[in-house]
Amino acid sequence: MSILNDLTGADPGLTPRAVLLRLGAIGGLVAGTAGAFAAVGGWLSPGALDQAQIVDRFERVNGPHPGFRRNHAKGLCLAGRFESSGRGARLSKASLFGAGQVTPVTGRIALAGGQPYAADAATTVRSLALRFHLPDGEEWRTGNNDIPVFPVRTPEAFYEQLLAAKPDPGTGKPNPDALKAFFAGHPESAKAAALIKARTITAGFADDTFRSLNAFRFVARDGTETPVRWAFVPDQAATAESAAQSARADKNFLFDAFASAVRRAPVRWHLVATLGERGDPTADATLAWPTDRATVDLGSVVVTATEAEADGNCRDVNFDPLVLPAGIVGSDDPLLSARSAAYSQSFARRAGEPKTPSAVHDTPASGAGL
């Protein structure tokens, strides 16, 4: 008997050579399992873009703002309801589209960018995030922007663009060479940027149109799937943003105006779905769909209250675009899964950070001097 056989308590029928071979096989199997785990976890491919890197880059570009969203950092909470028109019921089995259904809604208006104390500016992209509270714990969360198309097609392009568009500390503007190089490598983004730049800028949040940009699919009761993109179209006519407004010194003029508007009367948007047809791009958010596509007015979002961000309200909600009720599913757009992943990473980080009050206080801008 060898020492090896004694140490391992091996069956006396095994030769030391056999014990050694078998030990090697066991070690190989255990190490192989560990190696496969490491490979799947991305440790062996450090070059691949992951969710932490995207959020890291937001932090690098915007500086640290603990407790705030890494993007769309400046915002205001809202509450209201969704009144279904019933016209969506044939397209999606989601209960909120049933005729006569009224679904409670909470949400958040915000400005794109990771600077929670930036002054409101007319040209900053605005967003409308909503959370529909369906019966039995189901929810629909959706984040929408007031631009016609999304500036990038893939998460990798988004990551590159974040750095290329980083404002130079000296000039306060992005380095033109970096932007030029980015657009040269991404002609689809150059085209999208031109469309975004040419958009009509409205007076404020209440008369703005917010779009899903990414495509989704509505699933009907019989299983029929329809590719859709949706938009929140304001009930009130849009008025172009005026020179006087752009010159306002009030740092929160867009948020204050919205809060005041809601205090006067509920602000309404129509939820309008555009139905995609065969061949319409669902995996490329930089491309608009043809303008003659059929649309369906699914109902109205009615905002009846606003509230400054605080413990437990919209501040602590992750508006993950893939939190969907049965009857709505994601499309093959690669941005959707990436948004879901990056939002989750941002949410997990800010959840544990100390909170400071939002710049938006939800007090009337013209209030009496306090």
Binding site: T8, G9, A10, D11, G13, L14, V19, R22, L23, A25, I26, G27, L29, V30, T33, A34, A36, F37, V40, G41, G42, A48, L49, D50, Q51, A52, I54, S95, D136, G137, E138, E139, P155, G312, D316, V317, N318, D320, L322, V323, P325, A326, G330, P334, L336, S337, A338, S340, A341, A342, S344, F347, A348, R350, A351, G352, E353
Partner: protein, 182 residues
Amino acid sequence: MSPTAHFNRPARLLHWTMAGLILAMLFIGVAMVTSLAHYQALVALHRPLGIGILVLAVLRLANRWRHPPPDLPADLPGWQRQAARASHILLYGLMLGLPLIGWAMLSAAGYPIGLAGALVLPPILPRDPGLYAWLRPLHTVLAYALFGLILAHLGAALMHGLIRRDGVFASMALRLTPSRSR
């Protein structure tokens, strides 16, 4: 101890089913937290699989309680006996604990915990981002611990099966033909 003593058939079926599910779950989990392209698909698998494992772990514990496992060989050194006992307590603790912590952390984060279709689990904790920030990394650390324990369990099982050849591995092996009842 009878040399042919083995775990009862439900125990063996549960063991090998859960071995596959838990390994799949750990690989899905570790891929999920880095992947961008497959994040959503993996999360959609992770949640129902986790609840499935929780249910199976409860059944398994109940079966184990009613049908105690066979004794370890009498000649097994004391430290190995203790290591086996401790690792099994930890394995059961993590099989039950990881899904519960996952469920609790999603509750604290305020996510609807959709399993399939319109089926949503109720929250088991109040919404509290601070609690989520604490539970989320705990879920990861304990998942790594479970993976490490499974590697040790695999290595030890193969030592019994290939080197000691003392019947411990055979007591959990799945036979293709039903074993004769004793």
